[in-house]
């Protein structure tokens, strides 16, 4: 019963956050809607018994990445996007595309809705910290080491691009 309530609460909240993100013209409000969406996705992870990833979602996304986004919005001090004067054909096509995509996915995934496929009741062993740490250190060792190279590249690239330079 609890799982049902939480699933519907968090999925509706998450989709509301996503709608708020794409329709708010003020970038700060859009960022705050996205934070609501991130928190509800963490709640959905919790209802899937992926507890560790729910915590990481809040730590990394809501705690770090969104802070960076809000910093940049305040750094640039942007005004709200002004409304498009006339109806733009490109925007209409974009909405049609999005609608078609959602309908197509929901149709294509319908086989998961059929009876006899109730895997969510099954046990899930990989939500806790210990099995994730174990897989990270054994089967996924090479991607783990490569992530540090990705972070190194991001660090160097961001420092070079973001700072002001005087050429000598």
């Amino acid at each position: 019963m609890v799982e049902i309530i939480l699933f519907w609460l968090f999925s509706i909240l998450g989709i509301a956050g996503a709608v708020g993100l794409i329709f708010n013209r003020n970038p700060i409000y859009a960022a705050l809607s996205l934070i609501i969406n991130f928190f509800s996705i963490a709640g959905l992870y919790l209802s899937l018994r992926a507890e560790f990833l729910a915590v990481i979602q809040i730590l990394v996304y809501a705690g770090a990445i969104m802070v960076l986004f809000l910093f940049v919005i305040m750094l640039l001090n942007l005004q709200t996007e002004e409304k498009a004067e006339k109806f733009d054909a490109k925007r209409g096509i974009a909405f049609l595309f999005g609608l078609a995509f959602a309908a197509e996915m929901i149709y294509a995934l319908r086989s998961f809705a059929s009876e006899g496929q109730t895997p969510l009741a099954a046990q899930f062993d990989y939500g806790q910290v210990e099995p994730i740490g174990r897989s990270l250190m054994t089967s996924f060792l090479f991607p783990f080491e490569m992530i540090s190279v990705v972070l190194l590249a991001a660090l160097i690239g961001a420092i070079v691009v973001a700072r002001k330079h005087t050429y000598t």
Partner: protein, 129 residues
């Protein structure tokens, strides 16, 4: 007596109740004065409080790019620590199986990022002035 009486998502019901109570209390306290107190708005009262002076400029002040650099470094090293957490939890079992290999794995990970730290230090990324 086990620490967690319930397993599964039911174990989180107290947490959700706490979140709901926190949000509710915040809303209640923020709006209680509006509901209960008298409301006599005026021009002087509506002004931004700036230590008795008339307010100067807009409320949106542009930040300096230094804050962005610090936030960016925070994120990258935050990710590094997030990776250390499952490693540290599982460290004892892994050393019993593989010896010191997991330790050197993490040392390699940290050393690769340390190269970036040295570059940033030399480039002056931590210098505030």
């Amino acid at each position: 007596m086990p620490f967690l009486l319930y397993t599964g998502i039911s174990a989180y019901v107290p947490l959700f109740l706490l979140i709901i109570a926190g949000i509710g209390l915040g809303f209640l306290l923020a709006n209680l004065s509006v509901i209960l107190g008298p409301s006599r708005p005026g021009i002087k009262k509506g002004l931004t409080y700036e230590s008795g002076m008339d307010p100067v400029g807009t409320g949106h002040e542009r930040f300096s790019v230094k804050f962005y650099l610090v936030a960016m470094l925070f994120i990258l090293f935050d990710i590094e620590v997030v990776f250390m957490y499952p490693w540290a939890v599982q460290f004892r079992q892994l050393t019993q199986e593989f010896g010191m290999f997991p330790f050197w794995e993490m040392i390699t990970f940290v050393l690769i990022l340390f190269v970036g730290y040295i570059y940033m230090y030399k480039k002056g990324g931590l210098r505030w002035a």
